[in-house]
């Protein structure tokens, strides 16, 4: 894609400037995408401190590996989410190697202040259920159901097909529903 065909200040245009080591373009991308990337990472890892750390690392990787991005093959936001997801997977592996399971007390999904005990129990069950989902199912659910991405875009992040994403979401829904129903009983 020719630089002149890119809309000024679009992500793609800024990214091409980053490839030429333009720090102001990098700063603009950081301002624009930090919160959405942090939200995505937090929803995957469920821990605020890890989410902030991985967010910083994601943007550092963006700078270091800017030359790997090609506008014709993948959208900038998709590429950025791929980096973030890979870093989350690394984090999961590190935690596993430290003999910590995904279900752990340190996970701190936020509560709303006023909620009935019954609702609270269901939310607790849901939190535990989400943590037990395999990473790919969790990513698919977060992207499509929570963040409202299209299945096509989610497929690119997950490096699979739209059918693959549908299957992942279907399995995740079934697991979450089963756990919630058991919790009712």
């Amino acid at each position: 894609m020719d630089q002149t065909t890119l809309k000024a200040n679009s992500d793609e245009y800024l990214m091409q400037r980053v490839q030429q080591r333009d720090e102001s373009a990098f700063s603009m991308l950081v301002q624009r995408h930090t919160l959405s990337i942090h939200a995505f990472i937090y929803r995957l890892c469920g821990n605020q401190s890890d989410a902030e750390d991985i967010t910083q690392e994601t943007f550092l990787r963006l700078w270091q590996r800017a030359s790997n991005w090609t506008p014709d093959t993948v959208q900038f936001t998709t590429w950025l989410h791929q980096i973030a997801r890979n870093l989350c997977i690394d984090q999961f592996r590190r935690e596993r190697s430290r003999k910590r399971t995904v279900i752990q007390e340190s996970v701190e999904f936020s509560d709303s202040t006023i909620e009935s005990l019954e609702d609270d129990a269901q939310r607790q069950a849901m939190r535990s259920a989400i943590r037990t989902l395999p990473e790919r199912q969790r990513t698919a659910i977060v992207l499509c159901q929570v963040q409202g991405w299209t299945q096509q875009d989610a497929a690119r992040v997950l490096d699979t097909t739209v059918d693959g994403v549908q299957a992942l979401i279907g399995r995740a829904r079934r697991t979450l529903r089963d756990i919630l129903v058991k919790n009712y009983e």
Binding site: Q31, T34, S112, M126, V146, R177, L180
Partner: protein, 139 residues
Amino acid sequence: MNEQNFETLLDLHGSNLSAWPENLRAEANVLLAQSALARALLNAQIDVDKHLVDVMVVPQTYGLEQKVMSRFAAHKRRSETGFWRGLIWNPALAAACSLAFGFYLGAANQELPVDLAEDLTYMTFYDYESWSGDVDDES
């Protein structure tokens, strides 16, 4: 449509029946009117969808953009000085440099053996063919 089909479709399309394909939605509505199990499944999925969004609320974060830029600046500083620091602290290179320097010093300070130095002097100032090798004879 039976409950098993309905559950599979629920996995695929979620709890929002209006997003289902029209023909399937009509069949699902018929089943829901007849089956308590189908209704329970739908209600469970509605709860899942509701709680899923609730528990995925992201806590506010303050100054994260600045933290990103600070880490970036620190990384840049490290990579700018990294080359020279790497040269200095790279143990293998440091050992090789020390060794080479040692050889250089050794070679520079080495004195020629006295006999050889005298021979070279006479080879330079006297006719080698007529030289007997006895320094005192010539003088």
